[in-house]
Amino acid sequence: MKNALQLAYLIPLFPLLGFLLNGLGRKYFSKSLIGTIGSGAILASFAVSLWVFFQVKSGNTHVAHYFNFISVGDLKIPFAFQIDQLSSLFLLIITGIGFLIHLYSTAYMHDEKPEHFGRYFAYLNLFVFSMLLLVMGANFVIMFIGWEGVGLCSYLLIGFWFRKEEYNKAASKAFIMNRIGDLAFLIALFWLINKTGTVTFLEVFSAESLSKLSDRDITVITALLFVGATGKSAQIPLYTWLPDAMAGPTPVSALIHAATMVTAGIYMIARSNVLYSMAPAVMTVIAIVGLATALLAATIALKQNDIKKVLAYSTVSQLGYMFLALGTGSYVAAVFHVMTHAFFKALMFLGSGSVIHAMGGEQDIRKMGGLSKYMKITNITFLVGCLAIAGIPGLSGFFSKDEILAGAFATSPVFYAIGLFTALLTAFYMFRLYATTFRGSFRGTHEQEHHLHESPAAMTIPLIVLAVLSIVGGYVGVPEFIAAGAHSLKDFLYPVFEPSYKILQEHHVSHETEWGLTIGSTIAILAVVIYAWTRFSKKPDLAEPQGLGKVLANKWYVDEIYDAVIVKPLNKLGALLNNIVETKVIDGIVNGVGRLVNYGGRQLRWVQSGQVGLYVLLMVLSMIVIFVLQFFFRK
């Protein structure tokens, strides 16, 4: 009998249909129809994902094979979906949060023309489709197709308001940075094909194919895949595109640049956990890069005044946390944090969208203040998000962050110390953001004040749902030292990471130590929260920053450094090739030869401008070189 999970193809099918319908019909459909098709497609996928999840939970995992996608020689790449614990969890996150964000978008984007409204939903559905391919694919090639697809959609959506030139630049920047990562991914892929002859996950991670890989192979492949992940998941050195990507509409930032696409790198590494567990050196690099990114981005976020930029850097920082978890072997913690982060960061992005909507497009928090009086639901839900990300006990962020820090402590107390410091910074800038925006008195114009209002229900309902999830989402992973056997997520994901557990030796930290660490960090965080809240409610940080603050406000000048070190020299090289090689060398010789030839006959001058002669000369020269090398230098 066929496995019922063969039906999993329905999950990506709905968004694809939504994309086609909205893409083709965007000129003819009304806005409400477009919104219904767009959101309905994701809701349908969510329903199927839910069913799939319960199938998996009851122990039914399956690789659904549809047809052979590529068949070259003895390499067969099937078009197949792998439905297991890891992918089913991601499916729920993507379709669930995806649906809420689609719903939210119907109100947020309502001022767009119907045609653009349709375009927006078509892109958004296409994005969800690609993201689903990425997590469902049973081999690296399908994953790569999704990987490229989400990159493309992200590019299209960042540049959605393409009439602004800087938005186009942001889109191009994101695309190019991602391409650098993709290149590494591709090389890893071909390396893998060359050595093992397969790209299917189950086959690659089998003992037979792992035995074909030398230590060097594993190190190179995992390192290259990690470079791919740094592009997509915005880690050092390829993170600068993500803050610029905030040029896109806010729901897009919530869906793509907070909840789903940017976690693709984490998904990929979690999926390939066996390979990584066999490459301890790469694991250490991942942990260090993750930690450095977390710290760097958190310091930058301290001084940002654009509400979305703060959230963007916070996302980069939290992604760094997830990589720290991966690097220290706490794969479950990484996936756990992906989930809780998806809840509270999507919540805060949507909340910021609600604020921006009310402020008539204003994003500078220095011009806000006191919004809690005008927008009750947004205020409360945003506060929940801030409490969750800060790691206040009882909320989802507390559990996942605590688990990551515990894992870091087990590996090295230094990691723990930096991680905790970053957590304190996070609490600080989040409450700086919250207090400056919602507390104190309003600092905008009268016109804006008059305009302030709570957002419509289509926007507040997703906020409320996400706020609830941000509160309760953590209880699937209650740590062992609080209640034994209550970490149901760990048990659920156990089969996925089982091979890694066999390779990695577990560091055990005693329950007493864990209690101590948790209580200590909680007290510190609470102190920071209270300090930031009271300070910025009374006296918001409005002055132009000086000294170190200025460096932070300018993002450590990383963009400028990249510009000076990479972009400018490249442009110069291009100009050099164009000016010197093209105009001076080539044209110089051309003109020189041209003058020589001109003695021959003035009649043919316009044809014999010397070029043909030069061309033939160059061809003959290169042939002579080859002949000489072939006959005198090659054995």
Binding site: N168, Q611, V612, L618, F627
Partner: protein, 461 residues
């Protein structure tokens, strides 16, 4: 054999149709019917129905690979005529029928090149292909650029013909025969006469497919020729010569692979580099496409380098994917007055369907997944990986493919993300038929990107 004879006859028919028929549309219809007949006769030949029974001796051998490519070539010419046929009127209506006659003669040459078994036939085929191209390049008689391009092409073409003849002569001296089947390379594999002849053949073939360092003619000629004919030269013809190229190096020089492989690798790398890097700096889409055709040739050179089963299948797919996409792009370009990137600004708003299909063509050329171009590149890379060593070439090719994304996306960006300004060139309103064919070609590119077996299965069944 069916197609070979028929194409020669059809060429003559087209010449006379110019005397009898005055309306371009009527001439075009005759050509389309002729191409359909040609396609049908070739398919019949492939399935074993032969109209002629001639002893081909050591001259020609029609195998499935050749038949299949011939079908692809005829199909591409058909698509080309459907899409660009009307635009040829802009070059001149007076000799309108003659252009189509030349297409049939070129096809005739293509059939010889794809199934030659003797170096003489290869030479004959190459010349039959090239001479009509000289004429087509210079067909815009009142345009100095076109004249200049034609003369340049002719001068350098004559040079490459000389190389080829010299090569054939040397090989004849070494082997005592023109029949490639009868070459005896085991006995005296490394005779200098043979190797010199082979290198000369390599150069002349590289010239025809515009591989570096013999690519210099390409940008000037492609840029100078009337756009409609550039489209023809840069696609079907180039792909066909590649088939001849791989046939020559597999059947005639296969055993000498250790000698020539390094040179082919270096030429492929140089071609990829020159094509891609120079394309980035072009300001005219037409010139960019000329360099892009060099860049794509670099990728196809990888098939010659690897020379295994994957390479041959991949070359077939590559030829089809590249030709169809490029013909599509040129068909749009030939309806524009101005070839700068700015002229594409805001095309998506004015011509959404045309812009969407154009995007698919460009994505395919850039090798983005789900298009035929991606799989074609995948096959090439796979073939090189299968040779075991030479990972540097793979890495380099991928790097260059990444560079190519930049200039292809520039067109997409102009179409979608820029407002139409004063620079936007007027775009001839396309008819319904044109749009249908564009959509069909785009669908075909996606279909081949998902199921390459649609094409490649023909090789075996």
């Amino acid at each position: 054999m069916n197609a070979l004879v028929l194409s020669a006859i059809l060429g003559v028919v087209m010449m006379f149709s110019g005397i009898l028929l005055k309306r371009p549309a009527a001439i075009r219809s005759v050509a389309i019917i002729g191409l359909l007949l040609l396609l049908a006769s070739n398919m019949l030949d492939m399935s074993g129905t032969r109209f002629f029974s001639i002893n081909l001796g050591d001259f020609l051998h029609f195998d499935r690979f050749a038949f299949l490519f011939n079908s692809v070539a005829i199909f591409c010419v058909l698509v080309y005529v459907l899409l660009t046929g009307k635009a040829i009127e802009r070059v001149g209506v007076k000799n309108y029928a003659d252009y189509f006659a030349l297409f049939f003669f070129v096809l005739c040459g293509i059939f010889l090149v794809t199934s030659f078994q003797s170096l003489l036939i290869l030479f004959l085929g190459i010349e039959i292909i090239t001479i009509p191209l000289y004429i087509l390049t210079g067909s815009d008689k009142r345009n100095l650029k076109s004249n200049e391009a034609s003369l340049k092409y002719f001068l350098m073409g004559a040079f490459s013909t000389g190389l080829m003849l010299m090569g054939i002569a040397l090989i004849y001296g070494a082997q005592g025969t023109f029949a490639i089947e009868k070459f005896n390379l085991l006995k005296i594999p490394g005779s200098p006469l043979m190797i010199a002849g082979m290198l000369l053949m390599l150069f002349s073939m590289a010239f025809k497919v515009s591989a570096a360092p013999l690519h210099f003619w390409t940008p000037d000629v492609y840029d100078g020729a009337p756009t409609v004919f550039t489209s023809f030269m840069a696609t079907v013809v180039k792909a066909a010569v590649f088939i001849g190229f791989i046939r020559l190096f597999e059947n005639a020089f296969g055993l000498l692979q250790p000698t020539w492989q390094l040179w082919v690798a270096l030429m492929a790398a140089a071609t990829l580099f020159v094509g891609n890097i120079t394309a980035v700096f072009q300001q005219s889409v037409k010139r960019m496409l000329a360099y892009s055709s060099i860049a794509q040739a670099g990728f196809m050179m990888l098939a010659i380098f690897a020379l295994n089963g994957d390479a041959k299948e991949g070359l077939l797919l590559y030829g089809a994917a590249y030709s169809l996409a490029t013909i599509g792009i040129f068909s749009v370009l030939s309806r524009m007055d101005d070839y700068s990137y700015e002229s594409f600004n805001g095309l998506a708003a004015r011509q959404p369907l045309v812009a969407a299909t154009l995007t698919i063509f460009l994505l395919s050329l850039a090798g983005i997944p789900l298009t035929a171009g991606f799989l074609a590149k995948f096959y090439m890379i796979k073939a090189v990986v299968a040779t075991g060593s030479n990972l540097w070439l793979v890495v380099f090719a991928l790097l260059m493919a990444a560079v190519s994304v930049y200039y292809y996306f520039r067109v997409i960006q102009a179409m979608y993300f820029r407002e139409a300004g004063e620079h936007s060139a007027s775009f001839q309103e396309p008819g319904k038929g044109f749009k249908w064919v564009l959509v069909l070609v785009a669908a075909l590119i996606i279909a081949l990107g998902l199921f390459p077996s649609l094409l490649l299965n023909w090789l075996y069944f």
